[in-house]
Amino acid sequence: MAQQSKKSKSRLWFLVHSWLALPIWFFVLIVCVTGTLAVVSQEIVWLANPDVRASKPNDDAERLSFQQVLDALKQAEPDMAVRYISQPDGSHFALNAAVTFPDGTAPILYVNPYTGAIQGKSPDFNFEGFTRALHGWWLVPFTNGYSWGWYLVSLLGLPMLASLVTGLVVYKRFWKGFFKPTLRFNHGARIFWGDFHRLSGIWSIWFIAVISITGTWFLIQALLADNHITLSTEPITPVIAREDVPLSDSKAPVPRIDLDEATRIATTQVPGLDVTFAQLPSNAYGHIYLGGRGWYPLMFQTASVNPYTRKVDASFLVGDRSALEFVTESMRPLHTGDFGGLAIKLIWAFFGLLLSMMVLSGLLIWTKRTAQATAAALKRADRTPRATKVTGEAATEMQP
């Protein structure tokens, strides 16, 4: 009797597992595929577009400082305003300079880090932005708070977590699969895809857990933001007071320190600060905002330098985070895999592909199983004329 109930319970888990993604399998598949693409989108653009590559003019060329780059940009385009300069993760990428031209257009320029030459500007179709928007919020615009597409996608974290748990419950003694990997090629498609689904499943346990938990965090993050709740302990950096900005003797602006001076001040006063991006003041009362990855690569460290008084008015370092922030701030990089260079991205992309294949193989198993079950049910229906066509449909519904 106990055996019987255990069996029916496991059958129930099997049904739950089978049905978790099924009615929306194509949606789940596209989210997995676009997520995989988004992880390596920067690298895909690097392969496709020579403008974003940091080609060395000669072997002993040195990288320019941010101010030298800014000077080179000013010389090339005197009327252009620069908003920020940043070095993407990886020295093989060209610098990104966000600029605004006098006509109001505001592209990203790709700048050679050795020569300061403008190699090109961001194309009209932003592949990285598009894959991330499709994956992250299903292209639904943000009108008031988070887009409902964001909620739609991030809700998938929950069934994904559930399918991991039910999958492991159904797959009895799954740990044995690590020692005896089975992938039978010669027993037909149904057996092959079943083996594939189980084998890739157990090797992806950690990845599915990471993606589903961080995905669920995105749901929580949106819920918090839309309810105007912040978990941040980042100190408030007051804008520069009017008294602290000296008046000019002429109509011309008061001189402000340059980016290299700001970087020097910030890196000497804030130990451990690595500067890979520099944002110029967004108006006369704004700071020079500098930052880069901290010793804990999942987090950025930043400093706000007052361009008039030369003081570091605020900084936010890894050590300033609360225990809760360590968890919550780690969620996004864990999801996107962009915290440890190309190697981590490739691992994320590989398992992302595997996860997409699991959605497909799960579907293939289901259709094969169901097709057989339906055929069997129809055969029975022929023998018992009382049963009508509905029988077949019901069998489709109930057969795992």
Partner: protein, 107 residues
């Protein structure tokens, strides 16, 4: 957007998303307490508080009647001045919220 202009940049840089920045607008609410005092609470629309930010009570003739700073709980309580006045939550140039005395009701 306001104070934490910097904080917004990171997600934008990282996600490179064309989505709009979620704003951090300054906010301030004032309400009368126990008949003759007024309690003002400042903060930002993301839920952050504003401890230490200037909050002045200014007469219509532009004289500062009550110069103040918000406490650690982001509030300031002061005696309701006579005559016409407004409350200015002043977090720096262009980061202000004004509340007219007529909008602070009687208890």
């Amino acid at each position: 957007m306001i104070f934490k202009a910097g904080r917004l940049v990171l997600p934008l840089l990282l996600l490179a998303c064309a989505g709009p920045a979620l704003a951090h607008n300054p906010m301030c609410q004032c309400e009368p307490v126990d008949g003759e005092r007024i309690k003002c609470t400042g903060g930002f629309s993301d839920g952050s508080g504003a401890p230490g930010v200037t909050l002045d009570v200014i007469g219509y003739d532009e004289t500062v009647l009550v110069p103040g700073k918000l406490g650690d709980d982001s509030t300031l309580t002061f005696k309701r001045p006579d005559g016409e006045f407004y409350v200015l939550f002043d977090a720096g140039p262009g980061h202000v919220v004004e509340i007219d005395h007529a909008d602070i009701g009687e208890p």
